[in-house]
Symmetry: C3
Subunit: 172 residues, 3 copies
């Protein structure tokens, strides 16, 4: 059964870098699961920069929605898998479904799928709830759902970290 | 003299849930002090959801402003009291007074009143200062006052926690 | 060689107060380096309030941009130096240069200059990346650069702290 490591943090906190470093401590092939959809130059540049920062053992899977369905059985033979990130996955799901009713079920389905992998699983998420209350109703709704999703994954994880200024702080 | 436990965190960080769980470890009756004023459907739904998540030992007091005056002497015989939350209380106070001049005094009055209770006191607050600087002057002012209020209560507390992704991190 | 202590936190988290308290534990003269430019009444009031909260051993240097160049050799004989804060410095730099291309180089130049001081160095920075994604492109860019700058200084520091509700949490 997979060991699940949850890594949260703010924007540019170094959370992805920390998760990547942890994954690269494993020998063998590594699977990077990107939930980002490249839609503009800003995003394309970000994706490219991240790709260049990873070593050659990484294979890459881009899937915005159906993570539970598309992550290959036995992680395609990889020893570690990095899902980056939950918050964009949530954003993609909401865009399709229009509301948050099924998010918890989707998250449980993903957790169950990850658990069955014979690999170490690193899951990156964003802290989005520590600023001032957004004026925009949709933004309030999004940060509520993101917070609940983070709780759900952190509860399921075997290990949990928050990264601040590039430095990991253990939560669990 | 009351033991005061301060619990902070971002939106949907699980801070209220953690404070509630801690309070429910006490035997006997429990007092929930809600500072929220129910004004719209969004808020009503939130209040109902929280109410349903609490066990039957909870009594409930809704008071947006005069917490020091309305919390009953000896906590009405309750063994633990949960104040949820300071940030909404601040918002209510500012709406009435229009500025932050007396907030510190009000907070000291509340801390003194809570200290005299023969009950464990759990105080929930929000982290609102870790996003980008708000463009709106009022929002900047609010987050400054919320931050100062948090410092004041955390300094007065016997125990302090920050909750991240549902997981408590001890501050003090 | 200087011992560098990095202190981060949200708005009104007590980060400056903590850094100041740490600096004041040193005997002898202390140097306060303010990166804020006083441009309006709101800022003037903030600067005055901070100045009044410091003891008489503090000398003060106001420099918005060229910190590496203006901090005197051997810290002007001071035993501790407090730089408050990196985030405003970044904001000042961006205003002049219009983009973030040279920020990393500027930061490395500052770190090298601080390292050579025969004084304890306390560096204050802001956590700005834990709220909802800003709608404004410039704000997104700023919080990215601020996050990267924080990582750079925290990595270079001998000691690192995050302050929450006035309470310091050790990161490193």
């Amino acid at each position: 059964m997979a060991r699940i490591v949850y890594v949260s943090g703010g924007a540019r906190s170094g959370k992805s870098g920390y998760a990547q470093k942890r994954a690269e401590e494993h020998a063998g092939a590594l699977l990077y699961v990107a939930t980002a959809e490249v839609r503009d130059a800003e995003m394309a540049e970000r994706v490219d920069r991240h790709r260049l920062a990873r070593d050659a053992r990484w294979r890459s899977l881009e899937e915005p929605l159906d993570l539970a369905g598309k992550i290959p059985p036995a992680a395609g033979g990889c020893e570690a898998i990095l899902v980056d990130c939950l918050t964009l996955w949530l954003s993609n799901l909401l865009e399709r479904t229009g509301d948050g009713l099924e998010i918890t079920d989707e998250a449980n389905r993903l957790i169950a799928a990850l658990r069955q992998l014979d690999a170490a699983v690193y899951i990156v998420s964003n802290e989005v709830g520590s600023g001032i209350v957004p004026e925009n109703r949709l933004a309030r709704c999004f940060r509520d759902l993101a917070g609940l999703l983070n709780q759900q994954f952190a509860a399921a994880a075997d290990e949990a970290w928050m990264v601040v200024s590039g430095l990991p702080l253990r939560l669990k």
